[in-house]
Symmetry: C2
Subunit: 344 residues, 2 copies
């Protein structure tokens, strides 16, 4: 008996790219997918509900070893984090109608080989899109980077770049809950207001309006920075190194300003790590998924009690996914960029 076949629109990466991602680098392709799985496999076929736009994906678009996901294949569908509903499952941990989070494709339906790294969504009293943000990879990134790698103490001074983004907004709120003084930088007046008015940062500034970041940081941190949560790199990192306190800690999970450069910009004052006894710890959240269940339990309560808020920027429809992704690198998104594919 022939299996049912569904329409499956996909977003395809045309070729490896250099420089800023553009709409013309991607195309929407209409395909068909038989609703069936290979016998003997542990594959899962799921219908995508939400897809995530994350800066790390830029690193998968060039022909160089990438952060932690395999690089994309030119001519093939883009992949990234998604929330999906299981249609058919050959995997013992998942069954039809289960809601799951994990690496899926930028398409309407995805086959996840072996159910690889899928996480079952246990709590549906929280918006499903949150599993791509506060309860997903960015949330765990903020949690591990702040609590685990930055050894924070109440009263310490915390600076966060790209602070209104998917990760930064959470680091700031964690730091406030921990009793720290928190300042964030972002790229527009609107984002700065968001940080101060909705996200509870002590202060915030628009880095695009600052001519001398060193002096800017001196102004916001007259007594220096103890913890820097690094999301941007290059000139900001250089200015931060000048303003760090002794024994300062830098947790680095991203350097978005460097992703589109063929050769990173030079950090000219790296020797400050010695004179100031600074620790720079790079990390990839991939290494910390074992902490995910503990993390969800901890953060879920704070969300429900309204102690943490989360700002999302939701684009509607797979056809708008490329623009949403390109927008990340232009700073267009306000908060975590998500694409809604269809309702549950």
């Amino acid at each position: 008996m022939a299996s049912t076949e569904v329409n499956n629109n996909q977003v395809i990466l045309k070729d490896y790219i250099t420089g800023m991602p553009k709409l013309s680098h991607m195309l929407l392709k209409s395909t068909k997918l038989p609703l069936q799985l290979k016998d003997g496999s542990q594959d899962v076929l799921a219908k995508n509900l939400y897809l995530s736009c994350d800066p790390y994906m830029r690193g998968c678009m060039r022909n160089l070893p990438s952060y932690f996901t395999p690089i994309f294949t030119p001519g093939s569908v883009i992949n990234g984090y998604g929330v999906a509903k299981v249609v058919i499952s050959n995997h013992p941990d998942f069954k039809e109608d289960d809601l799951v989070m994990g690496i899926t494709g930028w398409e309407e339906y995805s086959i996840i080989p072996g159910g690889n790294q899928l996480q079952k969504i246990r709590y549906t009293d929280i918006p499903l899109s949150y599993y791509l943000g506060i309860l997903g990879m960015p949330g765990l990134t903020a949690y591990v980077g702040f609590y685990d790698l930055s050894s924070p103490k109440a009263g310490e001074k915390v600076f966060i770049s790209a602070a209104s983004g998917a990760v930064g907004q959470l680091v700031g709120q964690f730091a406030k809950m921990h009793g720290c003084y928190v300042v964030g930088s972002a790229g527009s007046k609107q984002k700065v207001e968001l940080l101060k008015d909705r996200l509870g940062f002590d202060d915030a500034f628009n880095y695009k309006e600052e001519l001398d970041l060193h002096a800017t940081l001196k102004r916001y941190f007259p007594n220096g920075i103890d913890i820097y949560f690094e999301n941007v790199g290059s000139k900001m990192l250089e200015a931060v190194l000048e303003n760090m306190n002794l024994h300062g800690r830098i947790a680095a999970c991203g350097m978005i300003s460097e992703y589109n450069l063929e050769e990173g910009q030079g950090i000219r004052n790296i020797s400050r790590v010695i004179s100031k006894r600074i620790k720079i710890q790079g990390f990839i959240i991939h290494d910390y998924w074992h902490m995910y269940p503990q993390f969800v339990e901890k953060v879920r309560g704070s969300i429900k009690e309204g102690k943490i808020v989360y700002v999302e920027d939701i684009a509607d429809g797979l056809e708008n996914a490329p623009a949403a992704f390109v927008g990340l690198f232009e700073g267009k998104n306000i908060g975590k960029q998500v694409v809604r594919i269809c309702d549950e």
Copy 2:
């Protein structure tokens, strides 16, 4: 009654300097010193036996906050680590003829205010000059940086720059004793031979003969570097970042190539710390003196048993101290640079 007065030659720093240190930046001055101490003080007056030439001292010669010692005062005597014999002591912990190690002046006799940070030398069955090297600040630096900050495991691949220097030669020997594979870089054929033939490094190369440090490191570490002991900075650090393994550790206690630059050279690939989950830990040995007694007990045995060797470059006479110091930045010294002032 008038106290005895002694001749006290001194090496004076004429003024703050820019660029490479030169002989003309220092002058030898003949002074007199009364052999007496302020009543009510805890000062110690000591006769200097050995003085140490250390790269960090360059940082004290400019009008900028320095590593950890106060910056030098133009027109005044240079200070640094020394081994000395107590002549008069107002401090309860020290008495006449005690041998001590600590910060003294580049002069024949020094008054150490309050006996500040002096360490009594307990074991004299080891050359006294060793207390400026293997049993002094460089030794403790190597010990803390390797065992404490680099989390070494047997079988790991360790790279050491400035490897024949006061610190590097010890890191290499510690790493070998720990079961690691060890390669060092140095600036001459003679130093490379020293590393391989006397200090037991698995391999070594002359960085001055290498056109492409990235390729060089790839050749010596086809499977990557796990631990880098950073003594030089700039281009070497950049090449190391390209060749580090996942979860690599960089202990940074010095970046000698950057000390004479007004503005450090750019490290253009700092984002590798993220993709490779690298930890860079800057440190200053000042924070670890509490480990000194434990360190001496551990290392002393290895010296006496011949398990660790230590290579020194000893200049004779205070008048040759400026040239010895200048030579550090020209790579002239073979091993730890010390100046002998007089015999015990």
